[in-house]
Symmetry: C2
DNA sequence: GTCTTGGCTCAAGTCCACTTGAGGTCAAGA
DNA sequence: TCTTGACCTCAAGTGGACTTGAGCCAAGAC
């Protein structure tokens, strides 16, 4: 089984070597070592890194990503179905982000006309009206939209 | 002209006193002082803070917000039209964010089926034209959607 | 034999938008 | 007079995801 150096993985995955070392420290990827101490990666690390990147794009933290990766089976290589299971929940997350952004934009459209920027009424400064109708919804909100007035 | 204490502004704007002091240090808001050194704010600071919050929700950094506020006229109080001018450009920004997220979601839809997560082909890990066209430290998502927008 | 390239570790730094803590001042009320 | 509460400054801390720097090692090319 052909192994990859950190430089090769870095180039092929588009992830800096320092980031790869950091991911290893965080328990997201693993590597064996040569006699001299250099990291050697299996090819499968590339798919794992693709997953990490996709999950980051959806807005997951590295901690959440580590937790998701931990549910992969140890005894066999992950299948397409395994990866699909992990990413199935992301759709709701994205839908919610899109919905919140769309409402913010529509609020902007009505606010541009009035220029009010009222602390109480303006949808732009108060996306809380739209988003944080508490419960599960708000948790998935884009960090951009989480700045809700107290 | 009635002036507001930092506590009053904090309660009415929903912004912590420490944040108000920080904003002053960053040149976003101004305050006069009493003989004893306590801050006194004009009522207009409330609208300014509403603007700051709205701009943050759209994804602007404090630096960008400061630049925008600097274009307000000194010689007269800002009108509704002034505020509307400042926020007019935000619509494009929101449209771009929505477009990027929608593309990501649609990529997810096709990826859930195949579970491929290929580094080369997967729309999820490569939201294509949104990706790293700006140099160092670039993640794979539009800068507008980064968790910490610059 | 030495030069270059690529790798290693560990600690510290970076960015942003704040918050926290220590230590002190000021004004009003009991 | 004492106490309380609100306020002040300045320095340092926070969190997430890395990057940077210093100092060192190992293998291949010449």
């Amino acid at each position: 089984m052909e192994l990859l150096t950190i430089g090769e993985v870095s180039r092929r995955a588009g992830v800096a070597p320092s980031a790869l070392r950091y991911y290893e420290q965080q328990g997201l990827v693993a590597a064996t070592r040569t006699a001299g101490g250099a990291r050697r990666y299996q090819r499968s690390v590339l798919r794992r890194l693709a997953f990490v990147r996709a999950a980051q794009n959806v807005g997951l933290s590295l901690g959440e990503i580590r937790a998701a990766l931990a549910t992969l089976p140890d005894e066999r290589p992950p299948t397409a179905r395994d990866w699909a299971r992990l990413s199935a929940g992301w759709r709701d997350r994205l839908d919610e982000q899109i919905r919140a952004l769309t409402q913010l934009r529509d609020g902007l459209d009505s606010c541009i006309g009035c220029g009010c920027l009222s602390l109480d009424r303006c949808a732009l400064s108060n996306p809380g009206d739209l988003a944080a109708r508490d419960g599960a919804g708000a948790r998935w909100l884009s960090p951009l939209l989480r700045r809700v007035p107290q």
